[in-house]
């Protein structure tokens, strides 16, 4: 194990996988970060610094600065994947997936099915997501429910440095297209990360902590919010199962259902608006599969049905918080 940040774990993984397999290529806006600039080419290494050092090691052929052309980047990755490469494309902010949606939902996601199982599209689309930095409505969204809803796409959302490495390695080696969500407030998060080859399988949830009174399901940054909320209730004798699904597609339904059967209570926490959301999806799963185990109504803690606002006070009102989660746990446990 080595102590490193979520960002460093991602960088290390890209270095390892590019060294492992010459078909792995990296492309995106500013991923070299300075091609054609006086101080370039390798000045920035990605706006969040994830792709640093790749250009120097693997060269311009495999580490490619792209114009600001998100649809073109997603489509180029999809086409290169169809033709045998393993592209890791970066879309700087997940909000910009809006620009590349056709290439994802109508192209990459559907090749294998439409072509009768005769094609593979092993691309990874890495992107930063999430609120909390006052980046306002077009740089703070968490659009993972939208892509989770698309058959043919896989969706990974690491919440720790170790998972960042393990899930990205799996995503790159996987033969299906994966949308890989990196929370922008987690890049600096430190953690122990296994050295060498390290794969975290898709569709296997992580049991973050175990308890008896309530199941909390959360992704990304919301996992640590749930831990804070649960810890603040330990003195009151309330304990929770906290489950991080790690991938929203495929989803580890068994882990969620087993836990709800044990605790009899479920709260799903996610930082998106509530409608047609991941939270609603998990709530519906439990309601239909383990209804008789439930001791209290299933609750969700999400943002409201609004865009993400700019002002700090409004952004705080939008986001779930450990305190909001704690209140809902108390209400749910008190219910019966």
């Amino acid at each position: 194990m080595a102590k490193m940040s979520y960002r460093e774990a991602l960088t290390e993984t890209l270095h390892q996988e590019m060294a492992n397999d010459e078909n792995v290529i990296v492309m995106g806006e500013d991923v070299v970060g300075g091609t054609g600039s006086p101080g370039g080419p390798e000045a920035i290494g990605g706006v969040f610094g994830v792709t640093g050092g790749l250009y120097g090691k693997f060269g311009a052929g495999r580490v490619i600065d792209m114009p600001i052309s998100e649809a073109g980047i997603a489509g180029t990755a999809a086409g290169a994947a169809l033709a045998g490469k393993r592209p890791v494309a970066e879309i700087m902010f997940a909000d910009f997936i809006g620009l590349c949606m056709d290439q994802l939902m109508n192209q990459a996601a559907k090749f294998r099915y439409m072509f009768g199982g005769k094609a593979t599209c092993p691309m990874v689309l890495r992107t930063s997501y999430g609120a909390g930095m006052q980046a306002a409505s077009q740089h703070s969204q968490s659009p993972h429910p939208m892509v989770t809803a698309i058959p043919g796409l896989k969706v990974a959302m690491p919440s720790t440095a170790a998972d960042a490495k393990g899930l990205l390695t799996t995503a790159i080696r996987d033969d299906d297209p994966t949308i890989f969500f990196e929370h922008k407030a987690l890049y600096g998060l430190q953690g122990e990360v296994p050295e060498g080859d390290y794969l975290v399988p898709f569709g296997k949830a992580r049991m973050v902590s175990e308890g008896t009174d309530c199941t909390l399901v959360a992704t990304g940054r919301m996992v640590s919010f749930c831990e804070d909320a649960a810890n603040s209730l330990a003195a009151d004798g309330i304990s929770c199962d906290i489950l991080d699904p790690r991938t929203t597609s495929p989803l580890d339904e068994d882990a969620i259902l087993d836990s709800v059967e044990k605790t009899g209570r479920l709260i799903v926490v996610d930082e998106t608006p509530p409608r047609c959301s991941f939270a609603a999806d998990v709530a519906a799963l439990a309601a239909s599969e383990v209804f008789s185990s439930l001791k209290a109504p299933i609750k969700t803690v999400t943002g409201p049905h609004s865009p993400v606002p700019f002002a700090k006070e409004l952004e705080n009102a939008f986001l779930p918080s450990p305190l909001k989660i704690k209140t809902v746990i108390e209400q749910t446990v008190k219910y019966s």
């Binding site: 500013d30 300075g34 000045a43 706006v47 649809a71 909000d95 306002a136 077009q138 409004l314």
Partner: protein, 322 residues
């Protein structure tokens, strides 16, 4: 230089207001007073002002993530903008938009935009509305060199050309597509030469010189108003600050910004032109400097003291009715 004295004073006041507004933000952001992602317009003032001095309140503009200059030039209230940047309840967008989403429908300012290339399609639509209204209105999009590589930008210029819309596409080439060099990401000889391929009348001009910008725009706006169809312009310019505040700018040349500040500062160039021609004196200009300085200081004081939005505002204005 066929501008009246008041027009020259107004142009200088606008450019200086943008410069001081941005310099103030630069300091406050470094102190941590202002949150979020902010992209400053310093260095490009001659373009926003030279363009907008040819527009009416009823004309439309769309802007970019680097939008403060366009907002001020189009007539957005400076105090309201400052409050917006500080995230205040009575900011121009009630604290909901922030730097990348400043807008003011009352002066035809259809929004700064967090999506690169988000503006030109909207300006095309506004131009369609102006054409249908048949009152001689035009719509204009500002965009950086980076935006010229977005598919929707291509699509909108083609749509404007086939529909003969009164739209104008302004490209401010500050040499950097975020951090990556424009010469690398733009395959054609220039942005202008590419835009001509859409059958749109396009010119290339010096964006450091307010007078050249103003003159070029006078012609282009007149063409659009007369129903001669869309047109476009590529201005050469520079930005004095990074892509965003906090950008280390290590991709730039060692003395690049210093050189630009010395030799390509559009405000210095304006000053020397008008004083050499005897149109305005240093005293006239210094007086404006002082007035602008006071305005920015006052705006900042009022913004700092203004109330923050209440949490329940998070769900208002999502719809007109629901």
């Amino acid at each position: 230089m066929q501008l009246a004295r008041e027009e020259l004073e107004q142009a200088y006041r606008q450019m200086k207001t943008i410069r001081d507004f941005e310099d103030h933000l630069h300091k406050e952001i470094a102190k941590g007073t202002i949150g979020g992602f902010t992209h400053l317009y310093g260095g490009q003032e001659a373009i926003a002002v030279g363009v907008c001095e040819n527009l009416r309140d009823t004309d439309y503009i769309t802007s970019t993530h680097r939008g403060h200059g366009h907002c001020i030039a189009k007539g957005c209230d400076v105090k309201g903008m400052m409050k917006e940047l500080y995230g205040r309840a009575d900011g121009l967008c009630k604290g909901k938009g922030g730097s990348m989403h400043v807008a003011d429908m009352d002066v035809g300012m259809l929004g700064a935009n967090g999506i690169v290339g988000g503006g030109p399609p909207l300006a095309t639509g506004a131009a369609l509305a102006a054409k249908l209204d048949a009152e001689g209105g035009v719509a204009l999009s500002f965009g950086g060199d980076g935006s010229c590589n977005q598919g929707p930008v291509f699509e909108s210029m083609n749509i404007a050309a086939i529909l003969n819309l009164p739209s104008i596409y302004v490209y401010e080439n500050n040499r950097y597509s975020e951090h990556t060099g424009s010469s690398y990401v733009i395959a054609s000889e220039s942005i202008a030469s590419r835009v001509e391929g859409f059958g749109i009348h396009t010119v290339k001009a010096n964006g450091f010189d307010f007078f050249e910008v103003h003159e070029v725009m006078k012609e282009l706006v007149a063409l659009a108003r007369e129903g001669k169809g869309p047109c476009a312009v590529e201005f050469e310019t520079t930005r004095f600050y990074g892509h965003f505040e906090g950008d280390p700018q290590n991709y730039r040349g060692p003395d690049e910004v210093k050189n630009d500040r010395e030799n390509n500062d559009c405000i210095k160039i304006f000053r020397s032109k008008v004083t050499e021609a005897g149109l305005l004196s240093d005293e006239d200009l210094d007086k404006i400097d002082n007035e602008v300085g006071e305005l920015i200081e006052q705006s900042a004081e009022e913004a700092a003291a203004a109330p923050v939005p209440s949490p329940e505002e998070v769900t208002t204005d999502v719809y007109v009715s629901y």
